[in-house]
Symmetry: C2
Subunit: 429 residues, 2 copies
């Protein structure tokens, strides 16, 4: 413990009014308190050198405060290149919390991000900085009311209650015509799926123009809804320029669509808040590119912080991966991400976690045992369409697996009287 | 060389029409060709399993192609966690180029990014993926005409020719009132500065409302311009929601302002293209948060690729750091970034590189010798305001240093007859 023992007590009174909080993992060979103060200075009233205008009163009112320093283990080599370390000093990791007053930023999400995740990641003393978590000032809730639909609104629109929404993704990811997509949708919804989405590679391209895809797919879905009384949700990728997103949303709404999808990282925060304020449909938030932010343990933005920004921006569904996925993300991280989505934010802002990648009936029980919630989308590709008895049996196998989970039975026991689950376990297990 | 010897030849005919190209650094224990094909499949028509709809003709038309594989060195341990490596195989780095047809995406920058930088960075076989560079299909230029002002327009507006624009940043970064900011601007422009900018932490906050800051600062600048015939450029941070950015732009335009600033990563691509299409003023692109993308050598997006996306989005000025900066970025990377900005893109899209961080007269000659251009902004903080003979002498010292650079003289020789430069070298050197 290299920081002052009375650190927390020392700053307590000032910290109280500083309600924007950010927690980081840092790695440095500097004294930990000095390192944390450099971060706080750089992201508020200080800079590399002492400046005349940084008066005591300005600093007290606007300076970021270091509220927590928790030393962690030492590492033998710097994790990232370029740090200006102190020769001979150990390289140490620590958790650090900084806090800022609402007055520094106002109700402005991009300025908030410039404050908590701006010119920080290349600061000289650090061989690693990762933003782990955020607490927002309550004043932000006025400008950013968050998801308009969330879990409850999504369930109402799709008529699925007290179980996960079972879904899939159109494949191949790119290259199908609008007609081929609609034909695939017909097969999928006739098989009992609750939710289908565009792949994030499908947008508004010459071979599959957005309007034509909406026309053909919604014709299939509206016809099915008319016949059966159940309307599966299809998330159309509207990502693009703000005027185009608005136009696509309006077109889809007119055709009785029930969900738009956006690529969060590439549309960006201001584009997402724009479409969220305009949208009369839930927003399916696709996190593609997320690996840039979170693949490294020691650089970037962890999903816990990342998802809060997008919830504030107004996203209703958020991708999290599923357990035993085909990507690099370990189950521990996946479960943490799903739980983070289900945690209330500023007293609300409910968002639906979207589990996918390599999912089939086999992960349902382990997922439920860890998150104890049915408020999620469970997206399967091969886990449904490759089922040996066909797609309807694939869908049933997923639903049966979740019934087993809810009733506390093992998949094996439940499979005895549920043929589709039994076949799935024999085939995929 | 583990890839097929006839690799380039084999795919040549198909590659010709695939004009979106992305180059990556990868790290994997898979066979390099297999690894590259997994990337190409995941980001186009393929997925983890063979799917019925991925016909030969769809694949030929829409599948991404691997056009280059260049093996690099082996590494002893995986750079990033979670990779599903092949036990016993060496872990190898390689440069890989993939290419896609324009038809996969259409004129849509966010879908383009989802294609070249989407669900890639967490793919199982890789312990590292970094996007290094991009070539865009020429069709994109219709939807994205790029910077409306660039270097030439910025020079015209500020009346600075045949030398770098010398500038600074308002400090403290946050906490000054609008009046205090305007007072500081008065001192700075009376000292001969060409360019001043808001810090990225200054936005539209309760203690410094945007409109009031514009009123007070532009009053100072307009008065100075009226008296002297020279109008320094001030970049006001308009970052925020799209309607707010538009409103702030319009207000600034009405008050005869000449530049808006945006935090690129937090406004995001769709927000930036929106304001770029609307703007009648040059856009100063601040890259804060860039370290997330580029601090790691083996994860993220290198500046060479990063800057092309923002130029396409319409940004006129782009931050690059300066040499011998206070951050972690080495000079080699800084010089590469500046050169990248000065390289034509799709035959144009000129963008002004903005050098800053720890800059004073001392880096001018080395910078010029390496980039051979005067088309840049040279921002100094302490390098101007801490000059022992005051701020006007600080500004002169920078101009003299660039005169020395242009004339091919050493700073030492040039300083003999240039007092301000001499003092700067004695003080900062």
């Amino acid at each position: 413990m290299r920081s002052k023992p009375n650190y927390l007590f020392h700053t307590f009174s000032m910290v109280m009014s500083k309600t924007l909080k950010a927690r980081y993992l840092i790695e440095t060979s500097y004294d930990l308190e000095e390192a944390a103060q450099i971060m706080a200075g750089e992201q508020s009233s200080g800079t590399f050198v002492k400046i005349p205008g940084e008066t005591e009163s300005l600093r007290a009112k606007h300076g970021a405060e270091v509220s927590v320093i928790e030393p962690l283990r030492e590492v033998s080599v710097p994790s990232l290149p370029g740090a200006r370390g102190i020769p001979g000093n150990p390289i140490q990791r620590a958790n650090v919390e900084l806090c800022w007053p609402y007055e520094n930023i106002g109700s402005n999400l991009s300025n908030l991000c410039a404050t908590v995740a701006g010119n920080l990641f290349e600061l000289g003393p650090f061989s690693g900085i990762k933003l782990l978590d955020l607490d927002f000032p309550p004043e932000l809730a006025e400008e950013y009311p968050g998801p308009a639909f969330g879990i409850e609104g999504t369930r109402q629109l799709s008529g699925v209650f007290q179980r996960p929404m079972v879904g899939t993704i159109i494949k191949p990811s790119v290259g199908l015509t609008a007609k081929q997509t609609a034909d695939q949708v017909k097969t999928l919804i006739e098989s009992g799926l609750d939710f289908i989405k565009d792949d994030e590679l499908m947008g508004d391209s010459p071979h599959s123009p957005f309007e034509e895809r909406v026309d053909r797919v919604m014709s299939v879905i509206n016809d099915y809804a008319h016949r059966t009384g159940k309307k599966p949700m299809y998330a159309f990728n509207v990502s693009g320029e703000v005027d185009d997103m608005r136009r696509r949303h309006d077109y889809l709404l007119e055709k009785q669509g029930t969900c738009i999808m956006v690529s969060l990282n590439w549309v960006g925060i201001s584009g997402i808040t724009f479409i969220a304020k305009h949208s009369q449909l839930p927003i399916h938030g696709h996190r593609n590119g997320w690996g840039i932010f979170d693949r490294s343990n020691i650089l970037g933005i962890e999903f816990t912080a990342f998802q809060k920004i997008w919830r504030l921006a107004g996203v209703d569904h958020l991708h999290t991966n599923g357990i035993r996925n085909k990507f690099c993300e370990p189950d521990e991280s996946v479960v943490k991400s799903i739980k983070a989505c289900l945690q209330p934010l500023l007293g609300g802002y409910q968002v639906m976690p979207v589990l996918s990648s390599g999912q089939w009936a086999g992960q349902a029980k382990d997922t439920y045992d860890q998150i104890k919630s049915l408020d999620l989308m469970y997206l399967c590709g091969g886990g449904i369409v490759a089922h040996p008895s066909g797609i309807p049996a694939g869908v049933k196998s997923i639903q049966q697996a979740w019934q087993a989970a809810i009733s506390g039975q093992s998949l094996e026991d439940y499979a005895i009287n549920h043929r589709e689950l039994k076949e799935a376990m024999d085939f995929y297990g």
